[in-house]
């Protein structure tokens, strides 16, 4: 069962969904960058992006009137978008690992 978005929440629905994807991608980008560059600010910026993602998911959950099992989708987004970049990063490292390339990850 779904509860359609209310008229006054149209804009915020579009905006927060777009922001989820963009914040998710920018978190992924900054997270990956923080792995090759140890500058602390990059890491901070990554977690800032992630907190924007959480806020957007919360706002979308409210605006799209998620209830019952629909809340699982919110949860999946919050957890999934946090761990996906981490997992993919390790996958990158490991799939390339028999190469003699040096990244910050290796020297650390």
């Amino acid at each position: 069962m779904i509860e359609p978005v209310a008229l006054q929440d149209f804009f915020i629905t579009f905006f927060s969904s777009a922001l989820i994807i963009m914040a998710g991608a920018s978190y992924a980008l900054l997270f990956a960058w923080s792995k090759v560059n140890t500058n602390l600010w990059i890491k901070i910026a990554a977690y800032c992006s992630y907190s924007i993602l959480i806020l957007s998911v919360m706002e979308l959950t409210r605006a799209a009137q998620f209830q019952g099992y629909w809340l699982i989708i919110s949860l999946v987004m919050v957890i999934g978008y946090f761990f996906a970049p981490i997992g993919i990063w390790y996958l990158c490292v490991k799939t390339h690992s028999d190469l003699t390339i040096t990244t910050e990850e290796d020297t650390l």
């Binding site: 779904i2 629905t13 792995k35 090759v36 999946v76 990158c92």
Partner: protein, 506 residues
């Protein structure tokens, strides 16, 4: 009397033929392309690329006509109605992208398999048959347009189903040509080397051809008809095409950046798992409102939320690679278009898709210009860009692997073509976004989707001006296309420095 008349016609025809020969020769000597640089498979590929570019032109031309009709409804009324222009606009798009993909596969088939194409002659015949059929279908679209409500209309004129309007006889022809293509690919790989890329490509082509068959049947029950129709459209565009692009990218990255096969193939498998894992059941987001059971709302919503995951993977991997490999690139326009692909795919498919995909909001955005906005950016961003990138790779090789870098001649052409095409499509996307937003608001939410509500939204000043902007940016796109063709024909002409040497020098 009669014979002299015929003789006159023959004379005129010969004269016309000779003039066209002269023009053709002038053109050939102007472009100065040396086909001895190409292998047999690549020569076949180039034919596909040429038709792809011509169809790309048709797509833009008929798009412009249809866009004009939104502003001046009387324009070409009952001569070339909106339905005809719009049909050719979207059909040309589907077909030129398929031509591009087939061309790409023929391009690398011999290199990847390490042997000559098994059925080269058959491949050439299939090319001419397909091109002849496409021409005939378009002529019938233009000249006959519609038929009576009988099976014969669906067999010989058009099937009236968005994106796959081609009449039944052409459907069967397309399947046969695809089977020949499939045979060429598989038999060549079997004769030469089999590889992971070959395996993914083979399975993907089976799915591609098989799915098309799902869309070939007439059904009275519109819910069933739409159900199968989406199998073709969605599972092509959001699953098998994506994997096909993945295969083309995998080969290109291996050749251009020298990434090792093992890594490339592992990542190709990862991409396949992510794309098919999210894409196949992502089909659910088209089954919200066509009469299908309610569980599709949940399935569609859930998998739509997962569909951006492959994009996230791409972002992370791109950063990893730039850290790991020092980029050496001898084809700047191709690289620029690949970067455009990354952004276009991310925004068009990812952001624009997710903005209106959840059923709670799709209830209002479904069947409005929202879909057109998403469609323009996603198709261009994900598929047009990669084809154009490959055109540049092809032309570089055709010129004899010359250097195409920042200090080449006339780089302004490809840069402006890139800017105009991307800016044009982005402009159309934004204009359609505004129109769609207004439509979902006024027509769907306030007026409850009545015909009166539909026209209230269409007559609204914000919608009207959005349509003007869309036409304007359509013009910008067209300008970009003209420049692109000019650049593709001339880039690298007179360049003597070879690409690999320059890279080694650096």
């Amino acid at each position: 009397m009669n014979t002299s008349g015929i003789n006159g016609v023959i004379q005129k025809a010969t004269a016309l033929y000779e003039t066209s020969q002269v023009c053709m020769n002038d053109f050939k000597s102007w472009v100065q392309l040396d086909s001895s640089h190409l292998s047999d498979g690549q020569r076949l590929a180039v034919k596909y690329f040429i038709v792809a570019v011509i169809l790309f032109f048709a797509q833009i031309l008929f798009g412009l006509l249809a866009a004009t009709q939104f502003i001046f409804p009387g324009f070409l009324y009952e001569i070339l109605d909106f339905s005809v222009n719009r049909m050719i606009h979207i059909n040309a798009m589907i077909v030129w992208m398929l031509y591009g993909f087939i061309g790409c596969v023929y391009w690398f088939l011999e290199d990847e398999s390490g042997t000559e194409i098994v059925g080269l002659k058959l491949g050439n015949i299939a090319f001419w048959v397909l091109t002849g059929a496409v021409t005939l279908v378009v002529l019938v679209y233009l000249l006959v347009q519609i038929g009576p409500g009988k099976d014969s209309s669906l067999w010989f004129i058009n099937e009236g189903r968005e994106y796959i309007e081609a009449p039944r006889w052409a459907d069967i022809g397309i399947v046969i040509v695809m089977l020949i293509f499939f045979y060429n690919v598989v038999a060549t790989f079997i004769k030469g080397k089999w590889s992971g890329i070959a395996g993914v490509l083979t399975l993907d082509l089976v799915a591609l051809a098989g799915l098309y068959v799902a869309g070939m049947f007439y059904m009275t029950n519109i819910t069933h008809e739409q159900y199968w129709w989406w199998w073709v459209i969605h599972l092509w565009v959001e699953a098998t095409w994506e994997v096909l692009v993945g295969v083309i990218m995998a080969w290109s990255l291996m050749k251009l950046l020298g990434v090792r096969r093992k890594i490339i193939q592992t990542w190709l498998y990862i991409e396949v798992a992510l794309m098919f894992g999210s894409g196949i059941l992502g089909l659910g987001h088209h089954y919200f409102w066509i009469g299908t059971p309610e569980y599709w709302l949940t399935i569609g919503g859930f998998f739509s939320a997962l569909e951006p995951i492959p994009l996230v993977a791409m972002v992370v991997h791109a950063v990893y690679d730039t850290g790991a490999n020092a980029f050496k690139n001898s084809n700047h326009p191709a690289l620029a278009w690949i970067i455009a692909q990354a952004f276009g795919n991310f925004f068009g498919a990812g952001v624009w898709g997710f903005m209106h995909t959840l059923p709670q909001i799709n209830m209002f955005t479904h069947g409005t210009q929202w879909s057109a906005s998403h469609g323009h950016l996603a198709f261009f961003g994900a598929y047009a860009t990669i084809n154009i990138a490959f055109f540049y790779l092809a032309i570089q090789h055709w010129r004899g692997d010359v250097w195409m870098g920042s200090d080449s001649q006339n780089t302004w052409r490809w840069k402006w073509a890139l800017g105009l095409l991307n800016g044009g499509v982005l402009g159309m996307t934004i204009a359609l976004l505004i129109a769609g937003y207004e439509q979902s608001f006024i027509e769907r939410a306030v007026e409850g989707s009545t015909w009166g509500g539909y026209f209230t939204a269409q007559n609204h000043p914000s919608f009207q001006s959005a349509m003007v902007w869309r036409l304007f940016f359509g013009g910008v796109t067209f300008a970009g296309f003209v420049l692109l063709v000019w650049d593709l024909l001339t880039i690298g002409k007179g360049e003597t420095r070879l690409a690999p040497e320059i890279i080694e020098m650096r």
